[in-house]
Symmetry: C2
């Protein structure tokens, strides 16, 4: 693309505050951009900046023709209205795919979203790359967040799975989950999905990243998924590890969405 | 509202072509408007009119301050692009609730759609009015159309049901449906849901309206639902009849959406 039309895809990331995990995510995204040749711009604002300052930066990136994707690292400080901030990103640059118009198109048959949200897109890509069929399979999505669970369920349904969404109000999550050929878990409950929840041969994608205390670790904690990995390994035909499974896929899909955006804006095939 | 601020809610209906069922629906909507004091405007265009003519009428109603809801009766003739036509309706007057931005907000937690699509809204209203709890219940929606199945599933999930969507690619629809406390069927397959599909005590909402040949009927056919009513009656705790169950609810919700729209436009509480 650079050689053909002289355009380098650009991703702008806005980070507010000093959360260590957010800083790590942003750093990883930046590194990934560099490694594939995407320009990355970063704005780092202090925790106590105003919502208007964030909006001003978004507005600048909306107008900046070298920027094809804009990402606001969540969560934002509690004094800001997340919905207002996310709504300010131009839908053509909303590489996170969180705009309600995108979600609506994702839900509707015969419509196409401009961008598919990165984490659920990465989950489906993992299934595709490993040749796990989705069509006609029973799928259970645990968790119904706007960022992962809900769009993952919509994506699985678009691929003709029969999808059940299990959530905090579900009476018998274990029994329902045990019917699934494909499990995507995104609830943030360490080791919640035990061996007894899993149908033999099921495929499991674990989106949870949960810190648990671990005196043997130099940092005093380690990261585990929603799925009890050691048990799941013995029953499932495949399980994604935490960390290292879904996380890198999310970043890869973010880069892909940025490229899709640049191609669309410049009508480059 | 009329007495307080001199505003009468207005609903505009656009009918294209000579389909008898569509003409009947439009006539019923008009009658319902009259009975509750909503102004109804109707445009009836010939089958061979152009898409542009339809768009011109929509544009006129978009600007007309006496119109608070615009409904394009579907299906449109095959030479028209349904998506183009529906997208032309101003979202503030889209009382059908089919705009992707509405569907996106319906799917997302913490967001509110401007309008909930009439038929699924009527299904939920039936459950509420008859005091059937939804929270924590297993619900199966049969069919995933943009108009009924998909939004019905989203609404049930908003009310904390555990929802599974069964569709044409589902391998074992009978077994899955038999787990449901609440069944909403919207596939257009006459008598498909047999007694063996139903858990004793389940509540069934039958959205299907299917003509089947009947030499004993003066018209040569009669209307049946997706659910085998005689069998379902013996097993379920409640079943909606066809015709007469969901149909009138859809019209009632259309009137409610029109009133909601008029109130919102005029900031009337």
């Amino acid at each position: 693309m650079k050689e053909a039309i002289g355009v380098i895809p650009g991703l702008a990331v806005i980070l507010v505050g000093d959360r260590k995990d957010s800083a790590t995510y942003v750093r990883n995204k930046k590194k990934a951009c560099e490694s594939v040749g995407i320009n990355s711009l970063e704005v780092h604002l202090p925790e106590d900046c105003t919502e208007q300052e964030v909006l001003n930066h978004i507005s600048g990136f909306n107008e900046d023709s070298s920027v094809h994707g804009i990402l606001v690292q969540l969560p934002l400080p509690s004094h800001m209205n997340e919905q207002n901030v996310l709504n300010a990103v131009r839908i053509e640059k909303d590489v996170d795919g969180f705009h309600p118009l995108n979600i609506g198109r994702l839900a509707m048959r015969g419509r196409e979203p401009l961008f598919v949200p990165c984490t659920p897109k990465g989950c489906i890509e993992l299934l595709h790359r490993h040749n796990f069929p989705i069509k006609g399979k029973r799928a259970v999505v645990i968790g119904r967040s706007n960022i992962v669970g809900m769009p993952a369920a919509l994506l699985l349904q678009r691929e003709d799975a029969t999808v059940t969404v299990v959530h905090s109000r579900t009476c018998n999550p274990e029994e329902i989950t045990r019917q699934a050929d494909i499990i995507i878990s995104a609830v943030g409950q360490p080791n919640m999905v035990r061996g007894s929840w899993i149908k033999p041969g099921a495929v499991i994608i674990d989106v949870g990243i949960n810190p648990v205390e671990d005196p043997n670790s130099p940092r005093g904690y380690r990261l585990v998924g929603d799925v009890f990995y050691e048990e799941a390994c013995k029953i499932a035909s495949a399980v994604t590890p935490v960390p290292g499974g879904v996380g890198p896929m999310t970043i890869a899909m973010l880069l892909q969405n940025t490229l899709i955006s640049a191609k669309r804006i410049h009508s480059f095939k």
